[in-house]
Subunit: 369 residues, 2 copies
């Protein structure tokens, strides 16, 4: 009987099943089938597998040592289908990256230092390079910590997630079309490639305020799905004959800061942050913001002429941008090089190992009978 | 470091984390805290634990050998909170019982026979006795099978789940108030105790048809929560000073069979079944029907004078009742003794082992540091 080893990690507000690349090497040519089977992807509630049946809990990463000098760990991110027996490979996930950093230290894939360890990661989906910095006093890797992230009161191990030279990893340019603002599918948008490719529409141009609750924002998802498709074509991420994907590019709206109330009922004043953001995750509103989307918005905000830069031009610190998301404020630190290019975007996150497991995967069991 | 062994099982349309009683013996006096911590119950998305954040995926069972003659396995069912750091212990779960039967055979807690094995179970929450019958050709316990249940296309190992003498396990009587129909909180209802205590309202008396989709039925949940509280008091399950629970009794509506379309879009004709049923699960419509609720409805249907008996009086087979649920038809076989008392209610189900695991539970980790 084949049992597939896997570790369930929380990274920020996502849950990710982490697989060792060695354990999946026998299934290299059919990873989609094996992951979809393990997660129970065919069922919209993923009842026959280990998936969580939401976009933030239907995620897998395949992790192994990197062969690249200067990089410790390579990982491949999979957004596993929910009600669809398949997997999307087109995007990265920052929450899972924080989990991978901690996992690498906990499993010995990376060697802990003292008092902190920095794991250098490469995302194989997009080529993005990241670093995960974890406190490891005395070289000991913690299971618990007291760091939190917007969207959850749960505590975890603090992980500083740095995106190095994030511009253009997927398309070759921070602004893939060369324009800082353009009209896409009838909306004003900035198309940016940093962390992940993203299409950021001006909220007003799609009839939104950017201050919507998650429930209110759900009504805009179909409109933004059309914009995502148009942006995917414009950015050269897909061709006209390729099937529609729901993961690439990230899509959402940006707006000037305004007063709103978070999903947990906490009021947020306009002067507490710099830019309102509401993002889509697959087929639904994102309850917070994807980390790679946060990098894209932050990088755009540092790039003159883009919508995020214009709408957040009154922020007090040039190197920091505070994003107002449905769950609260996400802060990004951006460093630039001498030429003004984006050097690193860093987000303060939390992660935790939830369980180690062996999965009974029908697609693997059937052939071993 | 304390790691808590656990096995993730699918039972029908539920996912249940199964714990060996021995592994939790060190936490006997604080099971609520340990399970809530393992599941991440405090967060409404259970993001910091292994819970699935829905009523059908936030379930645990604690399993051990029974000391009772004639019983193989005892199990205790826990409905773990979602957005509430706590656990409800007041009810049984038939889906988890099917999982426990298979788990007992797979782990050696019960000895497999040839060609089938019957595991005799006792539910410690309610005192209900059940049997789980699994095909075990040559004494081999399968990991896969081709049985399905309404509400999911996923295949699993067939499990025949029998509820022995189900009447009165919680309250001492099949009809705890002595009445077969009564007015409760302004509705006409049958209060029955079989499998689990249940309050079954006539759909028309609460303004429903009993043919609602899950989405439509959601509007009736607040009304039925009030009825559940009134019924809990009337059945003696709680006292007036006890807190409101959302698990006990089961509550829902029954109605004459009518044409409807299932959640998966399949039309169901009125003549294909005997009684329409729409049940509540905690705070939301149940997508199918809980198995213990199915037993309660079936037992009531065999008991003259109750609402299910009156509304399903034209069923073709006296020993079988076909329940029309939002996901499709659930069929129950009922045997009675010479005196006409309910002997056994049997439901045909499916189960599968999804993963074996060790959980990193903050409540246990904190004290071991």
């Amino acid at each position: 009987m084949v049992r597939l080893p896997a570790t369930l990690m929380r990274g920020g507000t996502s849950k990710c099943w982490v697989f060792d690349a060695d354990d999946l090497s026998m299934a290299d040519d059919r990873l989609d089938e094996v992951l979809a089977s393990a997660f129970g992807a065919a069922d919209p509630r993923q009842i026959d597998g280990v998936g969580g049946a939401t976009s933030t809990t239907s995620k897998a990463v395949i992790v192994g040592p990197s062969r690249e000098p200067g990089t410790d760990v390579d990982y491949l991110f999979a957004q596993v289908g929910i009600g669809t027996f398949g997997v999307e490979w087109g995007s990265n996930c920052g929450n899972c990256a924080t989990a991978v950093g901690l996992y690498a230290l906990q499993t010995g894939l990376a060697t802990p230092g003292d008092p902190v360890s920095t794991v250098r990661l490469r995302n194989r989906n997009t080529g993005v390079r990241l670093s995960a910095t974890v406190p490891t006093p005395g070289g000991t890797v913690p299971e618990l910590g007291s760091a939190t992230v917007p969207g959850s009161s749960a505590e975890g191990v603090p992980v500083g997630l740095g995106f190095a030279s994030p511009g253009g990893a997927s398309t070759g340019a921070l602004l893939p079309t060369g324009d800082s603002v353009e009209r896409v599918d009838g909306a004003l948008a900035t198309l940016v490639d940093a962390g992940a490719p993203a299409a950021l529409a001006e909220a007003a141009s799609v009839g939104a305020s950017g201050l919507e609750t998650v429930e209110e924002f759900a009504a805009l998802v179909p409109r933004l799905a059309l914009l995502r498709r148009a942006a995917a074509l414009r950015m050269g991420l897909v061709g006209p004959d390729d099937p529609v994907t729901f993961a690439v590019p990230k899509v959402g709206v940006v707006a000037p800061a305004g007063d709103y109330v978070t999903s947990l009922g906490v009021p947020v004043r306009a002067d507490a942050y710099d830019l309102a953001v509401r993002m889509v995750s697959m087929h639904a509103p994102h309850p917070v913001i994807g980390l790679t989307s946060a990098v894209a918005v932050a990088a755009a905000a540092m790039t003159p002429g883009t919508l995020p830069a214009k709408l957040a031009e009154n922020r007090p610190l040039a190197s920091t941008i505070r994003l107002g998301t449905p769950a609260g404020i996400v802060e990004a630190e951006v460093t630039t090089d001498h030429a003004g290019a984006i050097d690193t975007v860093t987000l303060h996150r939390a992660a935790r190992r939830l369980a180690t497991a062996e999965l009974l995967v029908p697609a693997l069991l059937r052939e071993s009978v």
